[in-house]
Amino acid sequence: MRLSYPAEVEATRAEFSAWLDANLPPESATAIRPRSSADIPRWARDFQRAMFDSGWLAPGYPPEYGGRNADIYEQAVCLEELGRRRVTRSFNPQGLGIVSASIISFGTDEQKQKWAIPIMRAEKTAALGMSEPGAGSDLAGLSTRARLDGEQFVVNGQKVWTSGAHHADVLLVFVRTDPDVGKHKGISALVIETDTPGLKRRPFDDIIGRTPDFNEVFFDDVVVPRRNLIGELNDGWRVCNGSLAHEREMLWIMWSQGLDRMLADTFTDLAGTPAAVDAVVLDKLGSSVMDAWALRLLGHRQLTRSRRGLLASEQSLLKLMGSEAQQRLALLTVEALGPAALDRTVPDGAVSPFESDRSALSWSDRYLGTFAGTISGGTSEIHRNIIAERVLGQPRS
């Protein structure tokens, strides 16, 4: 137990902090905003590429993949520094965090050069084709078919909730290549260029009704070269778990920083209102402050354990805690503000493009927005089942 980092880790923090001060583009404070999670404004592309070239984009990777072989504490402090500035590494988070990461873990050198590195250097953007209308919580129940025909696959079916697909250059799509085996077997992962004939994208609004990010993606006899297969044929489930598991020990930081930001926004908006001194509000707010600390502390515990070579087994717990804590806090703020929670807080463009969560939303809408966290990436109910069975050792239902 030590409340401070080793000196060498703090040195890395200082170095990165200085780099950010020197390289963070002025546009990061302006209102040139992305239109979706696969749309990167020019200035942000330059910034992401600069981070890659300086080895700050993915510090844990070797230099050729935008890193510096940093250890896990160093990676953490880098993310802390970005969070403190409310800056994100990429406006194409799934492209960077999942698609390119999966290709780097499971792909061939050719595939890394063709897709992974361009995605990391923001020359290409990518989206993830996983969920289907009939396969939500039951992800492995996916039914989009890919028939292998000589050196090419022919893909038919539909994906949904594909964030940013309408602005993405490529999709990482999970398809069924062998319908005759158990549902977790017979799945494969394909990279599909979005301009391939037969591929149609329909963006649609989320519940908040901001510019659409979700897409339905339809595949009608889409022809995909066999060399776009990531990993082995029918071994896609491993890629899928691998991709979801990527930067595992780090995922909690996103939840933790999101919660910290929301807490800061709550403090700002409550300041000076009667709610700020109301015992009922304070009673609940204290619990949210504790949520934020506990999430951060349990995340750090995970870093320490994985640095000691111990298993990091609390992904599901931290996701559950982070997403539900944000939901509780948003609701608390709605109830504390009363009718003022109907009004939009900060007009679009008034805040940095990084702060999409704060801008142009009433707290009521922001509350509705937190359900993306408790529904996507496995609903809270699914994660409770996972924890009960894998961590607590309860029998499967």
């Binding site: 109830e335 503000l337 009363g338 009718p339 009433s362 009521s364 509705l368």
Partner: protein, 382 residues
């Protein structure tokens, strides 16, 4: 006590459902919510309102002396609950359960006849400008003033979250004059009204600035302190908002309960999972609880029972607690499907959420309930 709707009331409920099923389908609410961005919703809403006027709905809860049909508060609650269950738009709630109520409590018989007859015929829609930003709808928080200047009154202050403030023809405004609480009826056109962008396009609010507005003294209704009358009117408005919220919660529950029977994951309907079952039961329980409290409150208003103040707060808090659970679990259970604007669910989530923020929060009303009950105001049971 006889605690169930009578045959006539059940028939009314059926009739109301039939009308709203036909005239206020989800497509109407969707259209308004899409159209809202272009601020051209009036036509659709006006058409809907015209239909209700034809069917004499505005007349329903108003006394026969002004041409109303003289139904009671229980009947009104039935209608308003259904409006919530259909996320119906339009001036009914503000006009009948707010504007008309304050006039019935405060205005003289002559004034009431003049002003309410226009409501009965649907010529006039009304709004009730009361809260000044605290969100309490508490007369004690009213700071807006009127100052006499000859036979005119000069107003000062700002009213917040006035339902239909930007669309109603007439507005009942609560101000302080000569140290008394008074109510003025003013044409909205005479006031500086700014509409607030709503989270539910079917429930529209405005901020109303009174500063420097001059109105003739004849705008005053009633005589003497309106304190008690405004409070009694507020009890009605509170129960009506609770009934709207209740209806929206019922619809959320209905959508989820059906969805759980149809949605198949892991080879079975999700309704066979206890996590889903138990959430549905808790929603159902909170709705039954809220409905009991809402109709009890409506009955105390109908019979002018001494528990009406306690009952109104219990109704609002009960609907608020149901809303809290139904919005949270209702959206969670529907999963991704419910997280889109194209789906109907959000229409009812939004209607339920707005209700919680109107006319005092659940917490505010719960604390009042506790104080009244400890003070023994909680009678010896029904």
């Amino acid at each position: 006590m006889e605690f169930e709707l009578s045959e006539d009331q059940l028939e009314l409920q059926e009739a109301v459902r039939t009308v709203l099923g036909a005239e206020a389908p989800p497509s109407l609410a969707h259209a308004i919510s899409e159209a809202y961005e272009t601020l051209s919703v009036e036509t659709a809403v006006d058409r809907f309102w015209a239909t209700l006027v034809e069917l004499d709905w505005p007349a329903m809860a108003l006394p026969t002396q002004v041409g109303g049909l003289g139904y009671g508060w229980v009947e009104l609650a039935v209608v308003v609950e259904e409006l919530g269950r259909h996320a119906a738009p339009g001036p009914f709630v503000a006009t009948v359960t707010q504007y008309a109520q304050v006039l019935m409590e405060v205005a003289t018989p002559v004034e009431a006849k003049r002003l309410l007859t226009q409501v009965v015929t649907g010529e006039v829609t009304g709004a009730f400008a009361m809260d000044e930003g605290a969100g309490t709808w508490d007369t004690a928080d009213v700071a807006a003033t009127a100052r006499r200047d000859g036979d005119q009154l000069v107003l000062a202050g700002t009213k917040y979250h006035v339902l239909d403030g930007a669309t109603a023809e007439q507005m009942a405004v609560v101000v302080r004059l000569d140290g008394l609480l008074r109510v003025l009826v003013v044409p909205s056109s005479a006031l500086q009204v700014t509409e607030v962008e709503p989270i539910d396009a079917g429930v529209r609010h405005a901020t109303v600035s009174l500063d420097g507005v001059r109105v003739p003294s004849s705008a005053l209704v009633g005589s003497g302190d309106a304190q008690l009358g405004v409070q009694r009117a507020l009890e009605g408005s509170v129960v009506a908002v609770a009934a709207v919220t209740l209806g929206a919660c019922q619809r959320i529950f209905d959508i989820d309960n059906d969805y759980a029977k149809q949605r198949v994951q892991f080879g079975v309907p999700i309704g066979s999972f206890q996590a889903v079952k138990h959430k549905l039961v808790d929603m159902y329980r909170d709705i039954q609880r809220a409905r009991a409290l809402v109709y009890y409150a409506a009955s105390t208003l109908a019979e002018d029972h001494p528990n009406r103040t306690l009952a109104a707060s219990m109704a609002k808090a009960g609907a608020g607690e149901a809303q809290r659970r139904c919005v949270r679990d209702g959206l969670q259970l529907a999963g991704g499907i419910g997280y889109t604007r194209e789906n109907d669910l959000h229409l009812f989530l939004r209607r339920a959420m707005v209700g919680e923020l109107h006319f005092g929060s659940s917490s505010q009303h719960r604390r009042k309930v506790a104080r009244l009950a400890m003070a023994g105001a909680d009678g010896s049971g029904p």
